[in-house]
């Protein structure tokens, strides 16, 4: 068990086949919001997946709060993750999607219920609670995915492009949640291109400095 509240990456390396995405990557993330910016393909999502334990680093060490390593127990109890693609369980209602995560985190039943109601309300999803994801709009589904990541009030919250493709209204709802309801001592990493999120008080990490700029894109732009 790691008592630190920080995420520490030391000499982290990872690649897809022959393509090295991260090479001896060092970083230290403290509680609070950190926006990770960079070109597509620069490794932002990969970093989030490594921190979540969804990918295994080929070298280096990774320390996460509340666990020795980002394993299944860490994912159940301490991690909230929102993927780029919509990722709700299609056969479960919105409420059940949230409750399942609370139950997996071993929260007491009353707390699961209360947290579910709280985040459904904060994200304006109460009236859709008993509906299946397929009957919701893209914005509603994205808000639901974020509510699900928040329900256990995790110590590590990782959001991969949480507002991409969303209108301003939806974006403001999500920003409000990130700005004022981030759990205490929670390290929240947001990989994003969305400049609107820059309005939130945050730390920043420019990922482009780790990679050479794709010259052909510069020429095309």
């Amino acid at each position: 068990m790691n008592d630190s509240t920080d995420i520490v990456c030391a000499g982290l390396g990872f690649g897809y086949g022959n393509k090295q995405v991260l090479d001896r990557f060092d970083a230290h993330f403290s509680p609070g919001l950190t926006l990770i910016k960079g070109f597509s393909g620069c490794g932002k999502s990969t970093l989030l997946k490594l921190v979540a334990g969804y990918l295994r680093a080929t070298s280096g060490t990774l320390t996460v709060p509340g666990a020795r390593a980002p394993d299944a127990a860490f994912q159940r109890r301490h991690l909230g993750f929102v993927f780029q693609q919509l990722n709700l369980l299609p056969l479960a209602t919105l409420r059940r999607n949230l409750e399942l995560i609370g139950a997996l985190a071993e929260l007491p039943r009353n707390q699961v219920r209360a947290q579910t109601e709280k985040y459904l309300a904060l994200l304006g999803l109460e009236e859709f609670a008993e509906r299946l994801p397929s009957t919701l709009s893209g914005g509603q589904q994205q808000r639901a995915a974020i509510a699900r990541a928040f329900i256990k009030e995790p110590t590590v919250l990782l959001l991969d492009e949480p507002t991409s493709g969303l209108d301003d209204l939806n974006c403001r709802v999500i920003m409000k949640l990130l700005g004022s309801h981030l759990p205490p001592a929670c390290v929240c990493l947001v990989a994003t291109h969305d400049q609107r999120l820059s309005a939130l008080p945050h730390e920043g990490l420019d990922f482009n400095r780790f990679l050479p700029v794709e010259r052909h894109l510069v020429a095309l732009a």
Binding site: A73, Q75, R76, Q84, N87, L91, A92, L100, I101
Partner: protein
């Protein structure tokens, strides 16, 4: 616990949903399952009926029967009979010993009779037949007359009263075709002067071939020790060896058929499950991303395969039970062997014996999924 229940519930729902979405995949597995299970059940039933048929033949052939014969001339008078020599083996097999005497006997109605003398060692074998008829010095063994009838036969030129008895079942093992008159040794002394032809039956349990072999060895030892080289032993050892070889072949064939069925099932179920997994891997990865253990997900596929197999097994059981008499009747088995009250090849224990291989196959069908589950979640979810 609650979390696992919720996940299990979700996975059950997922199974049901996929069944509704892709009924073809379900029916394909059910069809293959029913077909294989029915084939294996019929094969097992065939083996069992064939085995039972063999057992009946074995019983008729006397696979537990040792027959000793000896022709004794006048020089043997005074020496112990074979029956007396073999009496110590009486606790390992039922001993029946008769000496056929060279005396003429005639039943006015049925013609020539054989006169057999029996000793103390044969009392036990005769007792059940003799206990039901009036006591007599001489009994007339015949199936042509009812038991307990007193009549007169001519023995050595003298008319004597005899009482009829039904032939005991073991008598069928002896090559005797004439009506028989049986007398105790004590009353036969007057007819022993010219020797006799003695035969002994040792009736052992044919289902215990090792004991039958040991008994035959015991008989040979006694004959050797007593120097009775004129005695001929007909032992069922060769027959027992053949039966053992047949049984072994049957068991091996049965096991091979089961294993082959299991392999085919594993391949078919595994291929379909792998295809379904490819369609479903996003959801599976999502569940794993929440921290749900891969074993739970694997269990979902195993449970699905087992449920489908159970349904297929049930269907095959019904099919086999209903077509049993037609199939095996058509195959030429005796009607008596097809009576499922006497021999039920579809009793739960028998069905389990055969279908356990399919169960193993069904469980093996999730092996490809277990390999697929080793792929990191981060490579599936975007």
């Amino acid at each position: 616990m609650k979390a696992w229940t919720l996940i299990a519930f979700y996975l059950s729902k997922d199974i049901w949903s996929r069944w509704l979405e892709h009924p073809g995949a379900v029916f394909a597995r059910l069809f293959v399952g029913v077909l294989l299970a029915a084939l294996l059940l019929f094969a097992q039933a065939g083996f069992m009926i064939a085995g039972r048929s063999l057992e009946m033949k074995v019983a008729r052939l006397g696979a537990g029967t040792l027959l000793l014969t000896e022709v004794a001339g006048p020089e043997r008078i005074g020496q112990p009979s074979l029956g007396r020599l073999l009496a110590p083996l009486g606790d390992r097999a039922q001993l029946i010993a008769f000496r056929q005497l060279p005396v003429s006997a005639r039943d006015p109605l049925h013609g020539e009779c054989l006169v057999l003398a029996y000793g103390r060692e044969t009392f036990a074998a005769l007792a059940p037949s003799l206990a039901t008829v009036p006591p007599s010095a001489i009994y007339y063994v015949t199936a042509k007359l009812p038991s307990g009838v007193t009549l007169e036969v001519e023995i050595d030129g003298v008319l004597r009263s005899v009482v009829t008895v039904q032939p005991p079942t073991w008598l069928a093992r002896l090559p005797l075709f004439n009506p028989l008159l049986i007398v105790p040794d004590e009353l036969a002394t007057a007819w022993e002067g010219q020797g006799h032809f003695e035969f002994c039956l040792l009736l052992a349990d044919p289902s215990r071939p090792a004991e039958v072999r040991a008994l035959a060895e015991g008989v040979r030892t006694i004959l050797a020790m007593e120097r009775r080289d004129t005695a001929q032993l007909q032992s069922p050892e060769t027959l027992l060896d053949e039966i053992a070889a047949l049984s072994l072949t049957r068991e091996r064939t049965q096991a091979l058929a089961g294993i082959a069925g299991g392999i085919v099932l594993a391949l078919v179920f595994g291929a379909i499950a792998s295809l379904e997994y490819r369609q479903n891997r996003y959801i599976v990865a999502l569940l794993r991303s929440f921290g749900a253990p891969a074993t739970l997900v694997l269990l979902r596929y195993a449970v699905e395969a087992v449920v489908l197999l159970a349904l297929a097994g049930f269907g095959a059981g019904l099919l086999a039970a209903n077509l049993h008499s037609y199939v095996f009747g058509f195959a030429g088995f005796e009607a008596g062997l097809l009576d499922r009250i006497v021999l039920d090849p579809y009793a739960p224990a028998e069905v389990w014996t055969q279908l356990r291989w399919l169960l193993v196959g069904a469980l093996f069908s999730v092996v490809p999924i277990s390999f697929a589950l080793r792929q990191p979640v981060g490579r599936i979810l975007q």
